[in-house]
């Protein structure tokens, strides 16, 4: 049993979970939802075991580091975080109708990690700059933020789809409907995910700054990754201020979540593969 095998399993389990969530949305049979949730939980376990095994394998190779140091490892962790945060939302809001718009992101992240040839999947020793306890703190906090923003984006798509079918946002959120959450509930979850993500992104940027200062003597150098994380931070700060002071909820909040997510993707992926800078450890 090795970590790559578990990553492969995880990809297919998330795919299967996605199918069940889609089937639930179409056929509206409660039991399909149970399968979907069960599969997502199994996926989270397999994903976690995969990460754990890779950690052990790195020690067996005499390198020994927490597997969060390159594009492949971060994608696997990203998928894991999305699935865990999603399960928490499903548990808190007692609805399975959101899975269709969230679990596919976990699947896509895993599939990209498993099948892409753009980056190496080997366990490679850490460059001297990465050998720091800040690595784990920085990557984990950033990716919790990214996962929350991804979920906000998924739910924003759902919101816009529902809005497109003519549903109207009611100010007072009622009990969950059979057809899944109301627009008001979706709006509230999207807002909460953005707040949650914003907080973790802030911690991520701060841990990154403190780390940079302890390794290079400069907490901010306008390197493209740093700059893009700040751009993302500005975009969500803008969305939150617009909501607080200009009443940007509902459709406009959903669009903000989409724009924010584009910025997240560029911060995460675009910077590594399109721009170049201090952070190009991904390749």
């Amino acid at each position: 049993m090795d970590s790559a095998l578990f990553s492969g399993y995880t990809t297919f389990i998330y795919l299967a979970a996605t199918f069940f969530y889609v089937a639930l949305a179409i056929f509206r049979i409660e039991r399909l939802g149970l399968f979907a949730t069960a599969l997502t939980i199994i996926g989270v376990l397999a994903n976690g075991i995969g990460i754990g095994l890779r950690w052990v394998e790195s020690y067996q190779l005499g390198i020994g580091y927490i597997p969060l140091a390159n594009m492949y490892e971060s994608l696997v962790f990203f998928a894991w975080t999305i699935a865990i945060v999603y399960l928490a939302i499903e548990h808190i809001h007692k609805t399975k109708y959101l899975g269709v718009y969230v679990v596919p992101f976990a699947f896509l992240a895993m599939a990209y990690a498993s099948f892409s040839t753009e980056f190496s999947k080997d366990i490679k020793p850490l460059l001297p700059a990465l050998q720091s306890n800040w690595l784990a703190a920085h990557v984990i906090t950033c990716f919790i933020g990214y996962a929350a923003f991804t979920i906000a984006c998924g739910l924003a798509i759902l919101y816009l789809v529902k809005r497109g079918t003519g549903e109207v946002l009611q100010k007072k959120s009622g009990a969950p409907e059979a057809a899944g959450p109301s627009l008001a509930q979706l709006d509230s979850i999207i807002y909460k995910m953005i707040v949650f993500g914003f907080l973790w992104l802030t911690v991520g940027i701060i841990t990154g700054a403190v780390w940079a200062n302890s390794a290079w003597g400069t907490y901010w150098s306008w390197d493209p990754k740093e700059t893009w994380s700040l751009i993302t931070w500005f975009i969500y700060a803008l969305a939150l201020h617009a909501r607080f002071t200009r009443g940007w909820d509902g459709t406009r909040m959903a669009w903000s979540a989409l724009v924010g997510f584009v910025s997240v993707v560029f911060t995460y992926y675009g910077v590594n593969f399109i721009l170049s800078g201090l952070h190009s450890y991904g390749g």
């Binding site: 800040w134 403190v210 290079w216 500005f234 002071t245």
Partner: protein
Amino acid sequence: MKFKENPIVDYFSSVRFALLLLPLLVVGSIVGTIIPQDQPIGVYLEKYGQTNAIILEILGLSKTYSSLWFKALLVLLCLNLVACSLHRIPQVLKVIKKDNLNTDIAKLMRSEDKVLFSSNTDMKSAETAVYEILRQKNWLVRSRDNADVLLFFAEKGAWSRLGPYLVHISILIIILGALVGSYFGFKAFVMVPEGGATTEVYQRNDAQTKIPLPFTLRCDVFDIEYYANGMPKEYRSDLVALENEKEVANKRITVNAPLTYSGLTFYQSSYQPIQNQYTVEMTKKTVTKGNNQASGSKQKVYVEAREKHAWQDNLVRFEIVETGEDGHGHGPYKIWFDDELGVPAHLVLEDQKPLIIERGGASYEIMIKQRFATGLQVVKDPGVWLVYLGFGLMLLGLYVAFFMSHRRLWISIQEKGATLTIILTGSSNKNQDGFSKTLEDIATGLLNEKTLKLRRL
């Protein structure tokens, strides 16, 4: 402050202005990540053509983040933050300090979240019971008797309304810290050869301004450790700070572990092999006949290849005759060696691997490696503590702003004949759904209090 009186000042101190500044900062920042920064003009000429390159230079896009317009945007954002805060904080303080016991009962009755009770108990015991229940649930309780109505007011988290302003202030503190760092500190660079020392460093600007150090910095050893696959594992330098030739600080620095002394921090930043120079460490052990005791002497020298070197009054002589290239650019070495005990010899040494030479009455251990200069980033940043303080306040402020709420409760007790009418109502500035549960919890608490003899209406 009376911002209201001037519409222009009013706009610049509004959140609406911030909602304009933030997108501008976003666009400016994006431009700076797309156009390569801090390159010589030639790069832009080649990449964008002459006209575009000139426009870029004029707009400051080759140094976006230090350009006048970008700084101006940041200054405006700071001023806006200050103005917004000065404008809003007094209003928020007014809400925090508001006399909530001066609330009209009719207004309370209009609240959506309310619970009505009736009771047969007397006013005095009702008052005590309600007070106790709220106190037990950690509410800050006040009450006022308004002739026919006894009104309780209880609240939690009033100060949490200041959370957003704490975040704004933290941004100002971070920027202040950055300014202190850039005006009173510097970022500099120096290469120190192994075995060498320096008393000055060079600022990272075009002029590379010399900055004298208040002490001498010596590098004893620079070393690179490699993984089995040839990737570098660790760069390290043994640094010593000297004042009046006395050692005052020393540390083996690595990339993530710098040396700080007297306000300056030295970071392992780069390295350079010094062309044609090698570090030779040689130990000589002499065995004295009779008592079988070894006496040794050791020395470390920096030598050039193809030059003879002498040791111990010219008794021991050696020369690096030839240097090879291994994976990392040096070794194996061919050396010529001679001493008073035998005939001259030619030997081969691997890089950094000690070789033992037996010469009758003595044995030598020789080790050769490339001589390096360590590249140190030298930073003086007296503003960094402000930046870190700002980070801490920002996290605290965000937590307070998003996860704490100002919850207010009113309970009125009204005497109507032999029965008491009790109204429980309240509001929260955030998370109204969560607050409804809190209200329900208090209603249950009141119902469970036997002395109150409540009936829910």
